[in-house]
């Protein structure tokens, strides 16, 4: 039973790629949190990241591979699952599954759209409103770029909506990783579910705070 075609193998690949992406999200969250301390901090943080120069592209290629695996199998597995359950019940009750779990494909696709926009905006800096200036120390002014970008109500709303999607996706997804790679049993299950829920809430609160604080002029 191959990893690439099998029922269980493809879920393992989804889980492993998902785990790498969640790890990235955690790192990204810690980095972004410097914005709450002040412009100097996030600019300094961005400058430090730049010093990792040689590692940047291999890292990006790796993350792109993870995303591609995850999206490809996410879509194909979902289509298969729909095919395996074509006739719906007239009355259907779901005793244990969650809204978050049953909407993985939709929150996933929204996250994909978000990723494309987010990378164009703040990584490749080619969306129309991007402000590219340097700060007093001559560093690239990430802070000003973020504040200018997220002052737009539509953009900020899209960011918050996407973070709701990330919340739902990880709410189900994080505990799911441990089950899919076989690291779970009846004693660990409640713990993994709890870890997943807490992480999802932290992602939602911290990431959404950035556009919300910018829109309300707390960060300016």
């Amino acid at each position: 039973m191959s990893l690439l075609t099998g029922n269980v193998g493809r879920k393992v690949l989804m889980a492993v790629s998902g785990l790498f992406m969640v790890t990235f999200v955690v790192a990204h969250l810690l980095g972004n949190s410097t914005i709450f301390v002040g412009p100097d901090w996030i600019n300094a943080y961005a400058e430090h990241l730049k010093e990792l120069d040689l590692l940047v592209w291999p890292f990006r290629i790796f993350m792109f591979a993870m995303l591609s695996i995850h999206v490809f199998f996410g879509i194909t597995l979902t289509l298969e699952n729909w095919g395996a359950n074509p006739d719906k019940y007239a009355v259907s009750r779901r005793p244990r599954s969650t809204f978050a779990g049953r909407t993985m494909i939709w929150t996933g696709l929204l996250l994909l759209a978000f990723l494309v926009f987010h990378l164009l905006q703040f990584t490749f800096k080619i969306t129309p409103e991007v402000v590219k200036v340097v700060d007093a120390q001559g560093r690239f002014d990430v802070y000003t770029m973020m504040v200018a970008g997220l002052r737009n109500k539509m953009v900020a709303a899209f960011y918050v909506l996407s973070m709701v999607a990330l919340f739902l996706h990880t709410f189900h997804g994080i505990q799911s990783i441990f089950q899919s790679i076989g690291l779970n049993n009846d004693r660990t299950m409640p713990k993994f579910i709890m870890i997943g829920k807490i992480s999802a809430v932290v992602f939602l609160v911290v990431f959404s705070a950035i556009p919300i604080l910018i829109l309300t002029w707390v960060l300016s």
Binding site: G6, V8, N81, A84, A90, R93, Q179, G182, N184, N185
Partner: protein, 255 residues
């Protein structure tokens, strides 16, 4: 008898899936279940309704059943949206009418999954589960003299774990309840029951590979870790056995 309602009994409205054959279109029909006592099991209630239907010259409702004591796993109905009716650790045959009230409306549907084609009314073809069993849920032993009782020692924990998995009666409720029509709880239980025992080690690798392969070929979906299966399982088979299946698969890959 059907027109009369005996004192102290219940009358219920049943909305039942009727389908003449595998390729015929199905539809819901409404029936009144009269003279039902709280002591009737759900299947006995259907027997009463079927007698009325026969007396009226109509086709009785076809449903699977055999032991009527919760061990054979043939009774297979989704009742008001839940496989086996939603009472914990209960098969349809063990569900009693005391869990319903006079005047209740009850929806009764067959298991629905691509791998379980409907044969007639509430009866589905669950042979796909047999094919998964045939693919590897056995151990090969030489016939001959009976082996010594305690020649292979097994710890209490392992024996209990294996027995917990072996409690599965193969009713298919896990598939019926799964949003993806997956058979992972069933297959997980069958794989785990051998994985925990020394006798299961010899064929461990081929077992997990071929059972997963056949499961996929039969048209079951993929597990997305929703866990609705455990909630409806009449034997409360734990989803830890799905994790065990995944673990056994990964072990087999590197073996």
């Amino acid at each position: 008898m059907s027109e009369h309602t005996a004192h102290g009994t219940m009358t219920l409205k049943l909305i039942v899936w009727r389908q003449k054959g595998p390729t015929e279109p199905g539809r819901f029909e409404t029936y009144l279940a009269r003279n039902i006592t709280e002591h009737h099991s759900f299947l006995e209630m259907l027997d009463v309704v079927n007698e009325d239907l026969i007396n009226d010259g109509k086709e009785p409702i076809v449903f699977d059943h055999d032991c009527r004591e919760g061990i054979c796993g043939t009774c297979s109905q989704v009742i008001n949206g839940l496989a086996h009716g939603g009472q914990t650790r209960t098969t349809v045959c063990q569900l009693h009418m005391r869990t319903f009230k006079d005047g209740d409306t009850i929806y009764i549907e067959p298991w629905r999954a691509k791998a379980f084609p409907i044969l007639k009314d509430l009866m589905v073809d669950r042979n796909a589960l047999e094919r998964i069993i045939q693919a590897g849920a056995y151990t090969s032993v030489n016939t001959g003299a009976a082996p010594d009782g305690n020649s292979i020692l097994i710890s209490k924990e392992d024996a209990d774990y294996s027995m917990d998995a072996a409690e599965c009666i193969g009713c298919g409720a896990c598939v019926a309840a799964c949003p993806n029509g997956a058979a992972m709880l069933f297959t997980g239980a069958k794989v785990s029951q051998f994985a925990a025992l020394p006798q299961g080690q010899v064929e461990a690798r081929e077992r997990v590979f071929s059972m997963i392969e056949v499961m996929q070929k039969c048209g079951f979906g993929n597990c997305a870790n929703h866990y609705d299966c455990q909630a409806v399982c009449p034997k409360d088979i734990d989803v830890k056995f799905i994790a065990r299946l995944n673990r056994e698969y990964l072990k087999a890959l590197v073996m």
